[in-house]
């Protein structure tokens, strides 16, 4: 549950301020909203938005603005990832995390994005640790086509919290992705339910 002052609304995203951070939430993921009468009110921020809202406010414009800017995102249920957006394609974007390295994330699985408002870097790393163009592979237009480029490689889906989401990518059959786990089990995952993909470099 996110608490904050409703600040702005765009075509497919809203912005709240929780007293510390600006949180950009795609409307498609909003399940419930209620007035917060439990907590003491917080002041409306007087500083400028961390991103440009003047012309258009949409998820795609937010992702574009977030390119190269440190931010925290949530895609899987209980774990957020820190890093920065590097590229936005048709239905997915590329996110660089110092922990997971290059990640491919379908846009419709992004639950929220919080841009860093200070000059802090994730984990207080030095700026030169972060590559300008970290993607070793060329990028396909769609998430499915990008996954095809990873056939034969070890891949990790959804941050690897489930052992069945880590394995060798054997192929893509229609909407299903075939993975061979460490124990040799074959697991099929529906493409639409893959939230993140990264692979050991």
């Amino acid at each position: 549950m996110h608490h904050g002052i409703l600040l702005d609304i765009g075509s497919d995203v809203l912005v709240i301020y929780n007293g510390e951070d600006y949180i950009y939430i795609p409307l498609i993921h909003v399940q419930r909203m209620l007035e917060n009468v439990e907590d003491p009110p917080i002041a409306v921020p007087s500083n400028e938005y961390p991103m440009d809202h003047l012309h258009t406010l949409s998820l795609r414009s937010i992702l574009n603005n977030a390119k190269g800017m440190f931010s925290e995102i949530q895609v899987t249920k209980h774990q957020s990832v820190h890093g920065y957006v590097t590229t936005i394609l048709n239905d997915y974007f590329v996110f660089y995390s110092p922990v997971y390295k290059t990640m491919y994330i379908p846009i419709n699985h992004l639950k929220w994005l919080i841009p860093y408002t200070s000059s802090q870097t994730p984990y207080n790393l030095e700026n030169d640790i972060f590559p300008v163009n970290p993607t070793p592979l060329t990028l396909a237009r769609t998430f499915e086509l990008q996954l095809e480029k990873l056939i034969g490689k070890i891949v990790v889906f959804d941050l690897g919290t489930d052992p069945d989401r880590i394995g060798q990518l054997k192929g893509i059959h229609g909407s299903f992705v075939e993975l061979v786990t460490a124990k040799g089990d074959i697991v099929f995952s529906h493409l639409e339910h893959i939230k993140t993909v990264h692979y050991p470099s």
């Binding site: 608490h3 904050g4 939430i25 399940q31 419930r32 209620l34 409306v44």
Partner: protein, 59 residues
């Protein structure tokens, strides 16, 4: 936000306006509207009339 009242039926806008005015119906549930254009438009309207309100959002 321009054009909201043009793209949403007036009656819906009025309903949300009065609901937000009374602050009794800010609570709402969009599960049944998920993935629907109507649900997104309704949510946008509700948010529009409740900007600056302190809310809790479940995602």
């Amino acid at each position: 936000m321009d054009g909201i009242s043009k793209t949403i039926p007036l009656v819906l806008v009025e309903w949300f306006y009065h609901a937000s005015k009374s602050r009794l119906h800010l609570f709402f549930n969009l599960i049944k509207f998920q993935d629907s254009e109507r649900g997104t438009r309704a949510l946008r309207t509700l948010v529009f009339f409740n900007l600056q309100t302190y809310v809790m959002i479940e995602i």
